[in-house]
């Protein structure tokens, strides 16, 4: 039964599955209907049968049911007909078949009955189940509806809400992104625009803002790095920054030529913004160095171009360029050069003071806050150091340039004023350098020293040559100057007056008006001695404009020297002194000459009218003396400005004196016989020898033309001077030019005195070298000795000694008795001396003859006459006592007249004559010792004496003669 059920359900299931949707509808009819296999008539018959037999015993039914072959329950592919047929035996038997039939029929009935029974049994359940199915179906239907509704609603919702709002959201987001982009683009645009603004700022010189802006832009650009366009822009910004830095650099360069505090502050601020303070310093120094280089080059180039107009000049080196500067433009060029360099140095100085001020301000600004930025202080330190070192370097550069310029030209042929001008400028520059960095400016000093000594050599040579011309044209006339003339009154000494006086407290030898002037000068010297206070302010004085070099070349020149030397306070003294020489000269002489000038202006030399009193007072000097003094003044000025070659200058100055001395000696002693060495002081002789060896060119006649190699040796020598043909030293009437001789000798002495006046100052200048001491003690001090050889000629020719000697020879010395009348020659001698004395007076009318000169003249005349007497007496081969007496008488007569003729005492040589005469009376023994003692007489004189004394005693005579000759041989005389 289970199988059947199973089979049935399976079948139903099959039905349901087979006709799903249509089956649902038709399920009821199917279910009512018997299954199709049983729809056949047989089935229906059995059904009926079953119903009929239904009241039959269920047991029997059960058995029948069980008797059903199991094959029938094999549902699948079971063909009952076939099965039954097969079961049929080979021999058909109707009965069997009928039985089978019966049996089957029965079975079929039972089965049908059983099925029906089962169906009925299950029908309510079926109905229940069916109703439930319907119910489920109904529920499914409603669910379906809900689903459908839900779906359509959902579709609507989807369509109506989600899409739209998402779109909005998307749009909103897009908008925001675009806005951001726009902002960025705007910034970028601004960045691009900044370029113009930057240029504007840069051209305005507002560097810190420009750099600040630029840095801002850069950082902005950095934030927009992700844009490709910004990459290019930031590249451009970088370029701009570089360009700005370049401009900044240029602006820094401008500082060199013209410092402007505002400008510099801006530049510094800009560099600080860039964080390049140190680099700026380095750069600044580089700029200064190149500024010096360029400025000097362009100045010199300008001048050279002006002169030559050449176009290839730029190729030249600075040094070569300097060599092409012409002599005329040298000084203006030098001044411009100095001005240009001054400008640069001033700028540098201002840079330094700016930094100092800045530091101070900062210090006062954040003085309270102890916290100092380390980097800032480090920078400050660096800048300070750098600036400090820069001073020396810049000054070194300046020096090098100026030195190159100075050495480039040959200044040797310059006019002294011009050269002094050059010196002044360089001197000023050195002072500036001193103030600038405390440098001693060795390089500059050296080059100026080199140029100076070069120049000075040449200058000195010209001076000596000029001096020679002066000497050769000198007429040895007295130059009328005021009685108290000193070299200080010369214009050349104007600037030295003060120094000289402070060096020598010899106010007593100067005249009154000068001593009254001393007090203001002294006080002024106290002001100016502190030279730093005067010169200390170059950078302060010329901080705004101008330079220490833009003094007018001529007008302020005087003041310039004064300022440099620091002697005289102002023009006060010099203004007055300009006129003081001539005025005082006038007041001295014009008064005397009023009548003269009015009456006959040109006929008489005014000096004739001068009173004797004036003569004695006035110093005797010549035109050449004044010239030498002037030169000395110039030399002193040079030595003052040129301390390094001061020694050289002073040595040269001494040569001026040497040459003058030598000339006077040569001029006025040329007529002396060579044998007169005894007239010379040893020192004077040595000095003259030294001068001749060192200073005087050998005589051209002795000096062969071919000796060219000697030219080097003789380069600094001067030819032998020759006296002017105007001067006549042969006239007896003028006492062989006594006036000229006096003027000459006195002028040398005056010169020597003036030099002695300068001595201590010169020694100061020379720094204690032994040269000066030697010069003064060996040469200057013995100048006075010159008078002996110079005046000797005058005395020697005052009397015709030869004539006197020959007159004496005619005298008979063998007179028997003592004569009462002196010999005739004595009168002649006295008359000649009288004439000499008168001429002397005459000369003294023209030239004041100092007392010493009288003494020297007379003393040498005494000497000469006494010698003549002795010589004349010794000429007497024979002599009687009477003759000896006459000799004495003659001499006494001479002496007594002579004493009236001159006031010069003592009359030397008196004993010389008297001893000689009186020796005659000595006993023989005494005579021998007398001969031994008196070696002042010549051999010939002694022999003559002996032969006179021992006229009759041949033996003694022989002995004494032998003695005298022995003495002569031994050279004891």
């Amino acid at each position: 039964m289970d199988d059947f059920k199973h089979k049935f359900f399976f079948f139903i299931n099959k039905q349901v599955v087979h006709s799903r949707s249509p089956a649902v509808v038709s399920l009821n009819e199917e279910a009512v209907r018997p299954p199709t296999e049983e729809g056949n008539p047989l089935h229906r018959e059995s059904q009926l049968e079953t119903r009929k037999t239904h009241e039959h015993d269920p047991l029997a039914d059960q058995d029948i049911l069980e008797s059903i072959e199991p094959e029938f329950f094999n549902s699948e592919s079971f063909d009952p007909c076939n099965h039954e047929l097969k079961k049929l035996p080979a021999k058909l038997e109707c009965d069997a078949i009928e039985r089978d039939f019966q049996k089957l029929q029965q079975q079929q009935l039972v089965v049908s009955k059983k099925v029906l029974q089962l169906i009925l049994q299950k029908h309510t359940t079926f109905n229940e189940e069916f109703a439930r199915i319907l119910e489920v179906q109904e529920e499914l239907k409603t669910t379906l509806c809900v689903c459908k509704k839900g779906r359509s609603d959902l579709n609507l919702a989807k369509r109506q809400f989600t899409t739209a709002s998402l779109g909005i959201l998307a749009n909103y987001r897009k908008r925001q992104v675009v806005q951001g982009l726009l902002h960025s683009l705007n910034t970028i645009k601004t960045l691009q625009r900044t370029e113009e603004r930057l240029q504007e700022l840069l051209s305005e010189g507002n560097y810190p803002r420009a750099i600040g802006l630029l840095l801002e832009c850069q950082s902005a650009a950095a934030t927009y790095r992700h844009f490709t366009c910004v990459a290019a822009l930031s590249g451009k910004l970088q370029d701009t920054l570089e360009m700005a830095e370049e401009q900044l650099d240029q602006a820094l360069a401008k500082v060199c030529s013209h410092f402007d505090a505002d400008h510099y502050s801006k530049v510094q601020a800009a560099y600080r913004l860039l964080g390049k303070t140190q680099m700026a310093m380095d750069q600044l120094h580089m700029h200064f160095a190149s500024a010096i280089h360029n400025a000097t080059f362009s100045v010199v180039h300008g001048y050279v171009e002006l002169c030559s107009g050449g176009s290839t000049l730029y190729k030249k080196q600075f040094k070569q360029l300097c060599e092409s500067v012409t002599a005329e433009s040298f000084i203006p060029c030098l001044v411009d050069l100095c001005k240009a360099l001054w400008g640069i140095m001033r700028s540098y100085h201002q840079v330094i003071s700016w930094h100092q001020r800045n530091d101070l301000e900062k210090l006062s600004a954040d003085g309270v806050s102890e916290l100092v930025d380390f980097e800032a202080s480090f920078n400050k330190q660096y800048v300070k150091q750098k600036l400090g070192n820069g001073l020396v370097r810049i000054w070194h550069d300046v020096q090098a340039r100026v030195s190159a310029y100075l050495l480039g030209s040959d200044l040797a042929l310059y006019k002294s004023d011009d050269f002094l001008q050059v010196l002044r400028v360089v001197h000023r520059l050195i002072e500036v350098g001193e103030e600038f960095c405390g440098s001693k400016s060795e390089e500059l000093q050296n080059s100026i020293k080199k140029q100076s000594s070069n120049y000075f050599c040449n200058y000195h040579r010209n001076c000596l040559e000029e001096l020679r011309i002066f000497l050769e044209n000198e007429s040895w006339q007295m130059c009328p100057v005021k009685p108290d003339f000193t070299l200080l009154q010369l214009q050349e000494f104007r600037s030295l007056r003060h120094v000289l006086k402070s060096w020598k407290p010899r106010g007593d030898c100067l005249n009154g008006d000068q001593t009254t002037m001393t007090s203001p000068e002294c006080s002024s010297s106290n002001h100016s001695q502190d030279s730093s206070s005067v010169t200390g302010g170059y950078f302060a004085r010329y901080s705004e404009a101008g330079s220490p070099f833009d003094l007018g070349l001529d007008e302020v020149q005087e003041e310039d020297i004064l300022a440099n030397i620091g002697d005289e306070p102002s023009g006060y003294f010099s203004d007055e002194s300009d006129e003081d020489i001539p005025d005082e000269l006038k007041s001295d002489f014009v008064d005397e000459n009023v009548g003269d000038t009015v009456s006959n202006k040109h006929s008489k030399p005014s000096s004739k009218k001068m009173s004797r009193r004036e003569f004695v007072k006035a110093p005797i000097l010549t035109n050449t003396t004044v010239t030498v003094l002037r030169q000395c003044g110039k030399y002193l000025q040079m030595s003052h400005l040129l301390r390094p070659i001061a020694c050289e200058v002073i040595i040269c100055m001494s040569q001026l004196f040497d040459y003058y001395l030598y000339a006077v000696h040569t001029f006025f002693t040329a007529d002396l016989p060579v044998t007169s060495h005894s007239l010379y002081n040893l020192k004077l002789q040595a000095s003259l020898k030294r001068i001749q060896d060192n200073l005087i060119l050998p005589d051209p006649s002795q000096f062969a033309e071919s000796d060219l190699d000697q030219s080097e040796r003789t380069k600094d020598k001067v030819p032998q001077p020759h006296i002017s043909p105007v001067v006549d030293l042969t006239q007896q009437e003028t006492l062989h030019g006594l006036a000229e001789r006096v003027v000459a000798v006195e002028s040398v002495i005056f010169l020597a005195k003036q030099l002695e006046f300068l001595q201590s100052y010169l020694e100061h200048l020379q720094g204690g070298s032994s040269f000066l001491q030697q010069f003064f003690s060996q040469t200057v001090a013995v100048t006075g000795e010159l008078c002996h050889p110079v005046y000797m000629h005058v005395s020697a020719y005052a009397v015709d000694f030869k004539g006197i000697l020959s007159l004496m020879a005619k005298v008979n010395w063998e007179v028997k008795e003592v004569m009462s009348q002196h010999s005739h020659y004595v009168d002649i001698l006295l008359r000649e001396l009288q004439i000499f004395s008168m001429r002397l007076e005459e000369v003294a009318m023209r030239v004041p003859i100092p007392r010493e000169v009288y003494v020297i003249l007379w003393q040498s005349i005494f000497h000469l006459t006494c010698s003549t007497f002795v010589e004349g007496f010794s000429n007497a081969k024979k002599c009687s006592n009477g003759g000896r007496g006459l000799m004495q008488l003659d001499f006494i007569q001479f002496l007594s007249k002579l004493e009236k003729l001159t006031s010069v005492r003592p009359i030397r040589g008196r004993d010389y004559v008297e001893n000689y005469v009186k020796a005659y009376y000595l006993p023989e023994a005494a005579l021998e010792s007398w001969v031994r003692e008196h070696n002042e007489y010549s051999c010939k004189q002694l022999l003559a004496l002996v032969s006179c004394v021992c006229q009759n005693n041949k033996k003694t005579r022989q002995r004494l003669i032998a003695l005298i000759e022995d003495m002569e041989k031994v050279g004891s005389r």
Partner: protein, 212 residues
């Protein structure tokens, strides 16, 4: 000393005090006006080489003091001068009036052939003129002088004055009118070796002095 020249002329500058002689010389030598000059003491000296007609001539110029009291000193420089500039001040009649005296001095003391150029100085002060050009040229003509008006201040005609004088001397040498060999001509040949020969020969030998 190293410079070479064909001739050396000795020049004089004479004239009354204050006529501007020194300034004239200074202007000629330095090409500058010396405005702080004082009276000359004695004589001053200046030399310059000029080129005259292709010859280089060294001028040795003696600038004399104009003041009367220096006359004895200055006179000695007259000797042997080849040329002279006789200077007066056109603004000062006195200096013009003194010319005759100066001229006679120069003619007697210097070489007789001396070439004299009359110079009317201070031409820049034309407003204060006291001596007319005509009057001065008449004086020059009468005395056979050359004549120029100059200004030492502006430098006008200064170089010309010296050059004109030198030119005349040179011309006279060429015509043989002047003999440079003659002593006291004020002219020397530039050749330094022969320069002093005459002087050497001329030296006076003193008589033998008696023995001392």
């Amino acid at each position: 000393m190293s410079e070479s020249y064909d001739f050396l002329f000795k020049f004089l500058v004479i004239g009354s005090a204050g006529s501007g002689k020194s300034c004239l010389l200074h202007q000629f030598i330095e090409s500058k006006f010396k405005d702080d000059s004082s009276h000359t003491i004695g004589v001053e000296f200046g030399s310059k080489i000029v080129n005259v007609g292709g010859k280089s001539v060294k001028l040795q110029i003696w600038d004399t003091a104009g003041q009367e009291r220096f006359r004895s000193v200055t006179r000695s420089y007259y000797r042997g001068a080849a040329g002279a500039l006789l200077v007066y001040d056109i603004t000062n009649r006195e200096t013009f009036n003194a010319l005759a005296n100066w001229l006679s001095d120069a003619r007697t003391l210097a070489s007789p052939n001396i070439i004299i150029l009359l110079v009317g100085n201070k031409r820049d002060l034309d407003g204060d003129r006291e001596v007319t050009f005509l009057e001065a040229s008449r004086f020059a003509q009468e005395n056979e002088l050359m004549f120029l008006e100059t200004s030492a201040k502006t430098g006008e005609n200064v170089e010309e004055a010296f050059l004109k004088c030198s030119k005349t001397i040179l011309a006279k040498i060429e015509t043989g009118e002047l003999d440079p060999e003659r002593i006291g001509s004020g002219i020397q040949y530039g050749d330094t070796t022969t320069r002093r020969l005459h002087r050497e020969n001329n030296r006076r030998q003193p008589d033998c002095i008696c023995r001392m």
